[in-house]
């Protein structure tokens, strides 16, 4: 029962409550959106991952070359195709002072793979057969089958290590609290307004994090964020809008660090709907052929990004470059598209392209696609709906023709393409066709180590994905880390695979 009078007193006190005064080594991070939930193993949105990455840690991380680096695990060994030994480093501790133990690691794995948690990430580990503490700081994970992407899967924040002891004792509720071994811990949170983080006194880094305090005002409006950067209210922030360099380029005190990611903008196509023209694979392929990715790059991104493929170009495999939708000239592809539509008996398909209205970039991509597809005969109507409606119509109801979004490419070529098997992914069963051959190939490639055989397999898979045209890749997604050079020194990776823009947050240094 809440005591109303004390709350009213608190409200009055709101007039006198002290906001935080910027201390000497306080950094201010303008966060573009509030988190959508607290549970690090369950929540699948970037806005939440950004915050989780300040507080939690993962066993491994990835560097600019997509290579695995130590995180909470200081070393690891693949003893057999299905067995991995991870050694937890000494000196890592949660913010309450307790050291990170094998029990925490095993407990976190158990929580993620527990069906009750319903974590979307558990499937990326492969099939875990057993977890065992085989040493004071050693954990052995045995899989039922080889799964090449097991280690890279440990580098994503959704595989965070939580304080299992406190969780089991009921002292810590991951669904409403954040407590981890990362550089910062949460001191205050005002919903939709701001967070205040302070350095984790038990953080394993020496003299890290450099900034003892992190203020995080939440500023969703882009222009407001730009204004805040300009007048010094925030020290750093991120933008998705590729025009940010135009908007802030002339400002000498502002630095823009583009971070290439393995993420790319994508098109989801409804292959299973009853009334959609896209139920016919030929119509889907025609649409894929008629999509003009260069036009998207030029008109929407001013040429600052690049065409991308289902297997992200950042991995450098080039596996999908010869697929039908990418090869040849635009005229050749348009010819093929029109021919396919003729064959399908639908030369002027009427379709609706959906996008969440929360991201203006998607709206612009939609308008370019509308024009490009018209050249092949498609009549496209655009629908920009609020995020919640987009999520329900595309992923629950299957009530759409095709829609725009983006995909995280993670840290291994075989991870993102795993989603092309709806039985594995589950989140796209409502619109994605199941193809036995493709599913088998996807399983195979997960077990192949890097090399010629894997490369060939990837190429084969690219061909199949292109023909099925159920999910299309458009252009790479670049994130921009923008900061005030006179107030802060930031360190940004040029390439990032784990949606971890602030991988080096502990080393950010406040200059004022």
């Amino acid at each position: 029962m809440i005591h109303r009078t004390s709350l009213i007193a608190a409200a009055v006190a709101g007039f006198v409550a002290a906001p935080v005064l910027a201390a000497d080594d306080t950094m201010v991070w303008g966060k573009p959106a509030e988190i959508t939930g607290f549970d690090v193993h369950v929540v699948g949105t970037v806005a939440s991952w950004e915050m989780f990455q300040m507080v939690y840690e993962t066993l491994l991380t990835t560097d600019e070359d997509m290579a695995l680096q130590p995180g909470l695990a200081e070393s690891w060994e693949q003893v057999s195709p299905t067995e991995y030994r991870l050694t937890i480093r000494d000196g890592a501790a949660f913010s309450n002072g307790r050291a990170v133990t094998t029990d925490d690691v095993i407990g976190s794995f158990e929580r993620i793979t527990d069906p009750e948690t319903a974590s979307y990430w558990s499937r990326q580990f492969g099939d875990i057969a057993s977890l065992e503490a085989t040493g004071e700081r050693e954990v052995t994970v045995t899989l039922a089958r080889p799964h090449t992407a097991f280690l890279p899967a440990l580098a994503h924040i959704s595989a965070a290590v939580i304080p299992a002891q406190e969780w089991r004792a009921g002292e810590f509720d991951p669904a409403s609290q954040l407590m981890g071994s990362g550089p910062y811990m949460v001191v205050e949170h005002n919903q939709d307004e701001s967070w205040t983080l302070e350095a984790n006194p038990h953080y394993r880094g020496e003299d890290l994090p450099k900034a003892s305090r992190l203020e995080v005002p939440i500023i969703p409006d882009e222009s407001a964020r730009i204004a805040a950067l300009r007048d010094g209210r925030i020290d750093f922030t991120t933008f998705e809008n590729p025009d940010v360099s135009l908007l802030l380029g002339r400002d000498e005190t502002i630095a823009i660090d583009p971070i290439r990611t393995t993420n790319y903008y994508r098109v989801d196509v409804n292959a299973l709907g009853e009334e959609t023209p896209f139920a016919d694979e030929r119509v889907r392929r025609a649409m894929s052929l008629a999509t003009d990715r260069d036009a998207i790059n030029n008109a929407v991104f001013g040429g600052t990004t690049a065409v991308d493929y289902p297997v992200p170009r950042a991995f450098g495999t080039g596996a999908c470059e010869d697929s039908e939708s990418y090869a040849g000239t635009r005229e050749e592809r348009l010819e093929k598209a029109r021919a396919l539509l003729e064959e399908a008996g639908n030369t002027a398909p009427q379709v609706q392209l959906m996008a969440s209205s929360a991201n203006p970039t998607l709206g612009r991509i939609a308008q370019v696609m509308q024009q490009s597809l018209a050249e092949a005969g498609f009549e496209v109507e655009i629908e920009q709906v609020p995020t919640a409606e987009y999520l329900q119509r595309v992923f629950t109801d299957g009530d759409f023709d095709f829609s725009l979004s983006w995909l995280a490419g993670y840290t291994d070529p075989s991870m993102v393409i795993a989603w092309w098997n709806p039985q594995f992914a589950v989140w796209n069963t409502v619109f994605h066709e199941y193809d036995e051959d493709l599913a088998t190939a996807l399983e195979d490639v997960k077990q192949l180590p890097a090399g010629e055989e894997r490369q060939a397999k990837l190429k084969e898979i690219c061909g199949m994905m292109d023909r099925q045209a159920n999910i299309l890749a458009l252009t790479s997604k670049v994130d921009y880390l923008v900061s005030r050079t006179d107030k802060i020194e930031v360190i940004a990776d040029e390439v990032s695979g784990s949606s971890n823009t602030y991988r080096h947050i502990a080393e950010f240094e406040s200059l004022d």
């Binding site: 025009d243 908007l247 008109a299 929407v300 024009q371 629908e383 920009q384 609020p386």
Partner: protein, 274 residues
């Protein structure tokens, strides 16, 4: 009924007529293609080729503004018309029939009125999905309560008048009385409210579009053009300035014309004190 001739009213009327004309004839005017992507450099500033510059996809902005005028007027106009018809019927019924009808209508109007306007709009838009139809619904829902109240209160004033009583005594049905006797007297106030509702409607429509819940691209309304242009205010202000000026002009001319109509219908014969 004497139409006012003062400069402001005349200016307002001319502006309004011009804008409506432009909005109606827009698609046929040789101003360029509002949807042709890449017609010029992205975010290009106004020039002889493109008098209002270009937007972030390289489309000429002038034809888009013209489209926007048409859309804004069409949406608000349609909504206000619906409000007028519904509001007049409901308001008269409430004022004249009284009793249960009055209670239902008046309470219903109260509920809508007490609902924070923009939130009501957001909810309606959320339920119906974005687009022209929901924009019309939102504007209607937001302007209906006040309209009903005004019509109702005028009806109350008229209901007791002599000619109405005479008609009732002569055996006229309630509907006939309302249609033939009350309606003409309500019209004046209704028309005045209509113009104010129109200007409020245009503001609401543009606010909704600004928040992302209005017309769908590549169609444009003045509000959605403002939404498009505002991230680029610092490097390409011509979009916000262009759309903003036109929108303000449109709303202002509606207000001025509304004032003029009100003055004509209820002339004030006062004498200045000084």
């Amino acid at each position: 009924m004497r139409l006012p001739r003062d400069p402001l009213s005349v200016l307002g009327a001319i502006c309004l007529a011009a804008l409506v004309l432009i909005g109606l004839l827009g698609p046929w005017l040789p101003l360029g293609d509002p949807t042709a992507i890449g017609a010029g450099p992205r975010l290009g500033w106004p020039s002889l080729d493109h008098p209002m510059g270009l937007d972030e996809l390289g489309r000429a902005f002038l034809p888009r503004v013209v489209d926007g005028i048409g859309a804004t007027f069409l949406l608000s106009g349609a909504a206000v018309l619906i409000t007028a018809v519904l509001g007049t019927i409901l308001g008269m019924a409430a004022g004249y029939l009284g009793g249960l009808a009055d209670d239902l209508v008046a309470r219903g109007a109260d509920v809508l009125f007490a609902f924070p306007a923009l939130l009501l709009g957001l909810l309606v838009a959320a339920v119906m999905g974005p687009g022209a139809v929901s924009a019309v619904a939102v504007i209607s829902a937001a302007t209906l309560p006040l309209f009903i109240r005004v019509v109702r209160s005028v009806t109350l004033g008229v209901a007791g008048r002599g000619f109405v009583v005479t008609a009732e005594v002569a055996g006229a049905s309630a509907w006939r009385v309302m249609l033939v006797h009350i309606l003409p007297n309500v019209l004046g106030a209704a028309v005045v409210q209509l113009t104010y509702a129109l200007s409020i409607g245009m503001i609401i429509e543009s606010a909704l579009s600004f928040l992302g819940l209005g017309v769908q691209p590549p169609d444009a309304s003045l509000g959605s053009l403002l939404r498009q242009g505002s991230p680029y205010l610092t490097i390409a202000p011509h979009m916000v300035i262009g759309a903003g000026l036109v929108l303000s002009l449109a709303i202002m001319s509606v207000n001025l014309v509304g004032d003029a109509i009100r003055d004509a219908l209820e002339p004030l014969r006062g004498r200045p004190l000084t």
